[in-house]
Symmetry: C2
């Protein structure tokens, strides 16, 4: 594909067009991903996650400046699953990063949901891959919150930084294992505010109580990203985590598991598409669907009956024509 060739030769416009194809769910997506597959794995993937207003964009901006000073190139993907509501805020963040927009060594892409179910997690995965294939040394993915989509995105990061602010103090009490599992680096941003010391101390206790499988003890770093305080320490912590992953072969293991996860998501999404088609056309499934629609039977019982019937499952999922109808439609996950 000519567009892919141009992108691989460093054409920014081609890169942006390929990203739009991914975002719009173009039928080309599987072919694009097939073509760039040999070029993947060079970029280091950093996730930056935290609540709205924690200063994620400012932090990303400062880390990008440090990386650029070292001559490294950076791709930035900003995701906001709560758009359209917060579209404005996100736009403001982008404007603050304007200095990097003028830098050819940085490529920034904002992604929001477009009101459609699904698609965002898989589109983000593929946009990150494009930046990797394009040759960026680092890809930074910025996400709000830890909903399902975000977790799927965070999972792709080699190192995940979780940014908190003293205001989220109460929240720590309610934080669950999920957040501890995600964080490779904790950042207490806006650390000049009341409660920063206490928050950092509490996080340190939590980290010690819940050590990671890899033995990595998540550092807790106080920062004021806006005033460039703590940025060096954060960068150092990220690099130490990277070194640990590389030296212990954990990086490869993590990336392999992630590729496996991706494969399963794609297959599951395709089977689900097939199921939805079947439920409309299939004379066999029809009666079950009708009884559920009429409220005569609950959906769990109906699912149990359908899935317990070998012929039925075969007919739904495998189909009569031999194998799923494999189209060139992108497999939106």
């Amino acid at each position: 594909m000519e567009l892919v060739d141009r992108m691989l030769r460093g054409d920014r416009v081609a890169l942006a067009r390929l990203m739009s194809r991914v975002e719009n769910g173009s039928p080309d997506v599987p072919e694009i991903m097939r073509l760039i597959n040999p070029n993947l794995g060079r970029a280091y993937r950093l996730g930056v996650t935290g609540p709205p207003g924690a200063g994620k964009s400012t932090l990303t901006d400062r880390l990008t400046t440090v990386l650029r000073q070292r001559g490294q190139t950076v791709g930035i993907v900003a995701i906001d699953p709560s758009s359209p509501f917060s579209g404005g805020a996100l736009l403001g963040d982008r404007i603050r990063m304007q200095q990097h927009y003028l830098d050819r060594g940085v490529f920034i892409r904002s992604m929001g949901t477009r009101g459609s179910q699904g698609g965002l997690a898989s589109a983000t995965r593929d946009v990150v891959k494009l930046l990797d294939a394009y040759g960026k040394d680092w890809v930074i993915v910025e996400t709000v919150g830890v909903g399902q989509t975000e977790l799927d995105v965070v999972g792709a990061a080699d190192t995940s930084a979780v940014v908190l602010v003293p205001e989220s103090g109460d929240t720590i009490q309610t934080m669950k294992a999920g957040l501890m599992e995600i964080a490779d680096v904790f950042i207490v941003n806006k650390a000049d505010r009341d409660g920063a010391e206490q928050m950092a101390a509490e996080l340190e206790v939590m980290v010690r109580l819940a050590p990671k499988r890899t033995g990595w003890e998540t550092p807790v770093i106080k920062a004021q990203a806006e005033h460039n305080v703590g940025i060096t320490e954060i960068m150092l912590a990220i690099e130490q985590h990277r070194t640990m992953l590389e030296d212990s072969a954990e990086l490869d293991r993590h990336r392999q598991q992630w590729r496996r996860h991706e494969l399963m998501e794609i297959i599951a999404a395709r089977i689900k598409d097939r199921l939805l088609e079947s439920s409309r056309n299939d004379a066999i499934l029809g009666p079950y669907v009708e009884r559920v629609m009429a409220g005569e039977i609950d959906p769990y019982s109906a699912a149990r009956q359908i899935l317990g019937n070998k012929d039925l499952v075969h007919s739904i999922v495998v189909g009569d024509e031999g194998g799923l109808r494999v189209t060139d439609q992108p497999l939106r996950v």
Copy 2:
């Protein structure tokens, strides 16, 4: 099941326990849902969605007061997929609703993600059903944002109110069809602030440009929920929408489609579980997974090859033992 019997006889403690079972993904869930199925469909389901800080909880509180004055009972489900981050804020909202906590005619449940992927949408669906079966006249579901989970939740509402504030002004420009499709009532809250008039005017233009399939023209109502301004108008709009749905048989149609959607989600989730099991044990799928993990082949191509092979699909999804292994595990979607 004794707990279900007690709940159906009006036992609040039994209701709360059943909700916990749903939230914790207890193996009882399918059985609970089977037992309450005949008791569903009485409650009217109102969705209240909007950005953080728009005043959703205050609005829910005021609408609840109106409904209670009319002698109607209310169940409230507050969902926050961005918890753990915003756990604190949510808690604050709950405290503001304390008056209703003391009212036996109101049942309030807050639900957050527990760091685990999936589960929230299906758990919310089932909690709403419990409140319906328990006999609440109204079930109000409060959500932030319009991510995937929230859309799945909003879909279950008979009437959806979207709450905005003048501050989200810029956002309207970036709002996509998704939000227009969701809203049956638009509320411009905190309407004493600058920009409220303009926002309301813009929303009215948008509504007229994109009429709903049902012919319903989404009203735009200015309110100050905190000062009880606009509450009567909002309640009236909700009731008009309800009357329209009931008179046109749209209510039945919508609920039927929703039950169908639920069935498909449950089946798809179960097949996905089976797929994940297969990928670990199945000697046939193994080589594909290994090549993807090694990065030798991209996941889209591998998915295509796997799904194009009839025997392979049969072996993965149907299994050799005849039908999917149907366990008593709840089918988390």
